[in-house]
């Protein structure tokens, strides 16, 4: 019985649509859970500046506030370890997701970002067996997710040597930054057949390329509604083909249920994996229809889903 337990969400950043969708999903799902009496509280907290130090302070405050579990999307996989350890020592269950932490006492709901990067190249190798030049758009320098996905992409290129990354820019997971960076490097690039991305940057790249007279390469998308919509337009008009992959913001709700299960006394393995949410040519329309205008393709999880994930990990 967890009806007296209090869970907190520690979130490091709220400045993009993905995070906003994540917070919305959290609010929706946990709101119902609180109303149903499953847990006593599920309060979300967000820091102002996407900084590990600030988030560490936030976690320490949660310890003081007496939460029973902290669900955590971390600014850094390692820099919060000190605070997380303190929380564990205080008897608090810590479940990290998306931005996971390496501290052994915490649970991790991880996305295999490396695999995500690799799968992008794999998809391209199926679509363009003859290979060609790729442009890579990276995320924010110095952040772990950026490094992971990029490593995956380069692994993929090693696996499919017909591809070659001829340019790499940092798009900071933002359409406008990506657009600017791509527009800057594009004039000096040879023909490119594909753009491998990290999410939140595909539409920007498309915009930058559309502004030139180049042929539109295959741009891997990142599940944002504007990306999907653009893809739909291109698909309807010119039969454009690509795929879209990202982690669903609703994973916060999965983390919530996992935390609830742990509080309930369930035996849960420390490392759980969630699949990323992939959209392909054939299920584009359904996904687009389910995505809020301006939002991100999303999946929200139920308690049953969580139990299934926990069971399958055993």
């Amino acid at each position: 019985d967890t009806s007296a337990k209090k869970i907190a969400l520690s979130n490091n950043y709220a400045g993009n649509s993905w995070r906003q969708a994540m917070l919305t999903s959290w609010g929706k799902v946990t709101g119902e859970a609180v109303k149903a009496g499953t847990v006593a509280a599920a309060d979300p907290f967000t820091t102002a500046e996407n900084q590990a130090t600030e988030q560490a302070a936030q976690i320490q405050n949660m310890i003081l506030q007496g939460y029973d579990a902290i669900v955590l999307n971390a600014a850094s996989p390692t820099a919060l370890n000190g605070a997380v350890k303190e929380a564990c020592d205080a008897g608090i269950t810590v479940v990290s997701f998306d931005g996971i932490v390496t501290e052994p006492c915490a649970w991790r709901i991880a996305v295999n970002f490396k695999e995500m990067g690799r799968s992008e190249v794999e998809y391209l190798s199926k679509k363009l067996p003859e290979g060609g030049n790729l442009l890579e758009i990276r995320g924010l320098a110095g952040v772990f997710v950026d490094d992971e996905i990029s490593a995956g992409i380069h692994d993929g290129v090693k696996q499919y040597p017909q591809f070659k990354v001829v340019g790499s820019v940092h798009g900071d997971w933002a359409q406008d930054v990506a657009q600017k960076a791509v527009a800057g490097i594009l004039p000096s690039l040879p023909d490119i057949v594909g753009v491998v991305t990290q999410g939140g940057d595909g539409y920007g790249a498309a915009q930058a390329i559309a502004a030139t007279d180049r042929k539109m390469p295959t741009i891997i998308m990142g599940n944002r509604e504007d990306e999907l919509k653009w893809w739909k337009e291109q698909k309807d008009g010119k039969g454009y083909e690509t795929m879209s992959v990202s982690i669903a913001p609703g994973v916060s709700t999965l983390a919530f249920w996992v935390a609830q299960q742990i509080l309930d006394g369930k035996e849960v393995k420390k490392d759980l994996v969630v699949p990323f949410l992939r959209i392909d040519q054939d299920n584009l329309e359904t996904n687009l229809a389910n995505t809020q205008a301006g939002g991100v393709a999303n999946v929200e999880y139920t308690q049953a889903d969580a139990i299934k994930v926990i069971e399958s990990a055993k």
Partner: protein, 316 residues
């Protein structure tokens, strides 16, 4: 003084030289094939830096300590609210623009109220303000990316006679700013205030009024840039302004405007904005990693300021 020497005594020449050098180095990679594409891209993206940079320049001209850190948040708020209001309808383009400007005015008013009424140093006042504005942006539409009206999207992304439309807009605003600075009494006033606030007061200049208008102007330019950028990049994002915090300051100081105030120049903003875009493009083109790119950017900024020479009585 020969014309060449006179040219070299202009404070803005260094940013232009730096931009040209970097531009040349970049197009040489493709032996000139990328000239047109690179130039167009540079003009396009420099335009946004120019618009926010101009506003920041007016504020910095007001003298030591004057700076507006609320630029990014203002851009975000103006972009998100305007796009939400326009809701992809071409008929709403003007109301959207209007609301962006009104928001800019409101932020500027808030900034100066904090500075004047609560005597908070501008650097902290505008920072605090930016948090509030950022929250307002989150609250209004929770980060949804709404598309701009078709006409506007078309306008911001296309060229006229090979020149990007946004660059033309920025040029017009620059001309207006230049005109304000050089030809109007207001320009004289801000320059005087920047050189010495007590002297300006004793010369009968309405110091508070002028400073207030300047903070308004900066915020309005930021909101205008936010509006254009949101339309250009196909939707407003909550983080779309963050890049422009350091950028708006960097283009001003690299452009040769005196950090100690009182002396501003418009051409330098263009040189510096082009340079800031081109240097990233160049380093990307040469495949330099993020670390080296940052280091080189920093070293170049320091070299430009060393070349341009320290200023007398250059406070800070």
């Amino acid at each position: 003084m020969t014309p060449v020497l006179r040219l070299f005594s202009k404070p803005w020449i260094w940013s232009w030289l730096a931009a040209l050098t970097v531009w040349f180095l970049t197009i040489m990679v493709t032996l000139g094939a990328s000239t047109l594409g690179l130039s167009q891209a540079a003009l396009t993206f420099a335009a946004f830096s120019v618009i926010v940079g101009l506003g920041q320049m007016f504020v910095i001209t007001l003298g030591p300590g004057n700076i507006d850190l609320s630029v990014p948040a203002t851009m975000t708020l103006a972009g998100t609210v305007a796009l939400k209001l326009m809701n992809v309808e071409n008929g709403m383009i003007l109301p959207g623009l209007l609301i962006a400007i009104v928001l800019g005015l409101a932020v500027g008013l808030g900034n100066y109220a904090l500075i004047k009424a609560l005597r908070i140093p501008p650097i902290i006042a505008t920072l605090s303000m930016s948090f509030i504005v950022q929250s307002a942006a989150i609250w209004t539409n929770r980060g949804l990316r709404i598309k701009p009206p078709g006409m506007l999207a078309e306008f911001t992304t296309s060229n006229t006679l090979g020149v990007p439309n946004v660059a033309i807009v920025a040029l017009l605003i620059s001309l207006f700013a230049w005109f304000l600075l050089e030809k109007t009494i207001y320009g004289r006033w801000i320059s005087a205030i920047g050189q010495s606030m007590p002297a300006a007061r004793m010369a009968g200049i309405p110091v508070d009024g002028t400073r207030f208008v300047t903070y308004l102007f900066c915020a309005v330019l930021a909101s205008l840039a936010g509006y254009l950028l949101a339309c250009f990049s196909g939707g407003a994002a909550l983080n779309m302004g963050s890049e422009y915090l350091l950028m708006s300051i960097a283009v001003v100081v690299i452009g040769g405007t005196a950090v100690a105030g009182g002396d501003s120049n418009v051409p330098g903003i263009w040189g510096a904005s082009l340079f800031m875009f081109l240097v990233v493009s160049m380093l990307n083109t040469y495949g330099v990693g993020a670390g080296i790119r940052l280091i080189m950017t920093g070293l170049i900024i320091i070299s430009v300021i060393m070349l341009a020479g320290g200023r007398r009585a250059g406070m800070r």
